[in-house]
Each structure stands twice: as structure tokens, then as C-alpha cells.
Amino acid sequence: MLLSTETMDVDFVRKVEALSGTSVRRCFQCGKCSAGCPMATFMEHPPNRVVRLLQLGQWQRILAGRSIWYCASCETCSTRCPNKVHLASIMDALRKLSWDAEGPSKESYVQLANRLFLQNIRTYGRQYEMRLAAVFNVKSGQFLKDLMLGPKLISKGKLKMFHQKNKNMIEIEKIFGRIEEMRKNGEAL
């Protein structure tokens, strides 16, 4: 890793700081975030290292990996950080920037689930769990995933075959639209 003012992408770090509302430089690498992270075992860069790479402006290394997609947003790190580094928000920001950059992440399932979830909101205003699961299985190619659970859930009334659609759908589309507009105009990240 060659460090220089060129190789350390400070602009990217500033974006992360703006989006997350938290300072990356504050972190002194105590490792408490990684110590308490329930998902750290599934990550190739544990949370503290994600921040460390950010401090060095090495975002490509972060986005290339699956760490950010394995964050469960449990907020344990943010809660316990001695320096008030809101790492959960940093993770949010990194995921957003990854999407913006069409990041070459190794993790596709989590991203797929997220995309479907947001699509559902845009389409239905509310979450449509049955559809979410079904489409996910189809799109991820795991046709048989959780197949055994389906009938049971349906019988228990937990998977509704038909979705209760919001009556005010026009509003939700407007919100999506305005946000896209703001981004196009550079008014928001």
C-alpha cells in the first residue's frame, strides 16, 4: 500500500463523514467495535479495520469486500464506541457510496434483498413479505430456499397471499422522485 496525498482519497472520506455525520479521524483503533460485533466473524475486514482503511483513504479495499454488507445494523459498535464514532452510520454511508459507485462487492444476496425491499416500498408503499421472499428466491436462484417454511407460515396466516396496498401511493412515488431529482441536481449526496 503506497501512501501519498494522491493515494489517500480524502474526498471520499469527507463524503462518508458528511453522510454519516461522524468523524473518521476520531477513531484511535481500540478495537472495541470489532470486539462486540456479532457479524465480525463473517467479515474479511472487521469493523475497526474498515475505519482504519477509511482513515487511510483506501475505500476501494473496503468496497471490494463483503464486510459492509455483512453489517446487521445492530448499532452495538456505535453504542459502545469510546470516541462516539458512529460506525453503524459509517457503514450506511459506505453501502450507499458502494451502490453509487456500482461497487464491485463480492456480496450479492444482501444487496439483492435490499434492492427488492426498496422496490417493494416504491411499488406497494408497504412491505409485501410474501412477494419479497418469492422474488428473492427466484432472482438469487435459490428456488427451494425456505420452501419448508412456506406452507406453515401460510397456514398460520403469516404470509398473506394478497397485499394490502397503501391508498396514497402517489405520495411515495413523489418522495422517490424528488430524491432522485435532488441527487441529479447535486443537492444531496
Binding site: 455525520g21 446487521a72 454511508a93 439483492l112 426498496l118 410474501m130 396466516g157 403469516k158 405520495e171
Partner: protein, 295 residues
Amino acid sequence: MTPKKTLNYAYYPGCSLHASAGEYDLSTRELFKKLNIGLTEVPDWFCCGATPAHNVDELLSLSLCAKNLELAEQVEGDLAVACAACFSRLKTTQHVLSESDVKRRQVEKAIDAPVPLTGNVKHLLDILARDLGLEQLEQAVTKPLAGLKVACYYGCLLTRPTDVPNLDCVEAPTIMEDILKAAGAETVAWSHRMECCGANFTLSRPGVVIQLSHAILDSAKEAGADCIMVACPLCHGNLDIRQKEIEGVYNTEYAMPVFYITQLVGLATGLGADKLGLDALIVNPMPLLKEKQLL
């Protein structure tokens, strides 16, 4: 029994309570009715965006929540929220937008309305333990849950992060235990009451959920609990719906019913199984409730 003051709330059930967590919605409405607490559902509420939204698009997440807060303004009273995730998102939105003018302006532009930042967002637990009060709740109990050992599971989002939900102590909350004690149950001390269950990885990476939820179930069993109590549909899904699967993977047996808080408190106030949606639970609670003579 009548409360000293009449309590009325706007109610934001959230998507899950209208789908996979129907029993949570049902038991909440029934319990509140029993306790003479008014609930009026926010008309035309939207999804709060939950974890996926803030995970990849904070502005969207904030805007969705802000919209919901705006919608809730139409209804008299504080906003009551049953789902821990919805509660967390709504509270976080209020917090973030009151901290950042930039983000507030962006969100107001997105929803084309001012964001109400002053309205109270309250979780059911808060309403039961504080607005109604433990004393009042105790008085409403007609069938104390004597002999039922409950592991209260808080999960991640009810208390975290510091200063945002402000529901209870961020590392050692007791609000669930307080409520259950008022309901006459016994609560167990256990290690995994605030560990993550795997949350929405249930869809994308169920293996994660199986591993994490297994640890939670194990801990509850080791602590001698008869059942687990939750206040979050996602936690419930992972612990209850996937319990059988976890038992299979780890070659063990829990048979550990997972209740919503409203179901257990409802039982204590004398509500019947039908009004609490007990039949919707995947792990059958009936043998346990019968054994403890709570039905």
C-alpha cells in the same frame, strides 16, 4: 379498573404487524382495549424503510420516516409503535434531523412538508411501564403469570444507540422485566438478552441467523427459561419461525415458545388465547401454558 387519566395514542403498526406478525397487532389492540388505552391507526402510513433503506439510502429512509411522522400528526396523541425496528427508525429520524440542518432541509424538500420533530414517538413498552404505569398494570392483572420463567429478549434496536431511543438503560435495560414482574411472571437473568439475532439476514443469509439465534436460544435454555419474550417482529421471526430449523442444524431441542410482550401481558389481564393470536406462533405454546395452568 379505570386509569386515572385517559390515554390515547396514534398507532403505527408497521408492515410486519399487518403480515407475518399479525398476532402482535391483534394482541396489542386487544390488550390496549382491555387497559382502556385508545389506539387510532395512522391513516395511510407507509413502510418506514426499515433496515434496507437506511443501509443503502439514508435520505430515503429519513424521508419515509419523516412522511410517517407527518401523517401521524393528523391523529391526536403521541405515536405508539409496536415494532422495534419501526420505533428505532422513527426515533433515529427525529434525532438525525434535529442534529443536522442540512439533512432536515433535504428531507423536507423530499416530502414537501415540514418535519415534525417534537412529537413523541413511544414504544409499547414505554406506554405500559411509564404512561400507564406499573402500578396500574399490576391492578389490571387478573391471572398472574405465576411460575412462568421468561427470558426477556431486547435485541438491538429497542435501546441502541445511546441517546436515540432513550427507552431505558442502553446496556442493562429492565423495562421488559419490570412489566413482566407486574404481570406476575418470573424473569430469568441471562447473557444474550441484547445480542443480535441476525435480523434481516433471514432473507438473504439465513445461515447467519441460524448461527446467531442459536446462541440466543441456547443462552435462554441454559438460564432455565420456559419461554422467550420479544417486542420486535423480526426477532420473533428469527427465534420462533426458524427455531425448528436451528434445532435441526445443531441437533438439539428447545421447544421454547417465543411470545410477544402483548401476548403475555394480555394473558395476565385475562384475555383468551383467541384474542392474543397464540395459535399463530410456530412453536406451540399451549403445552407450556397448560402445564403452568395459565390458560
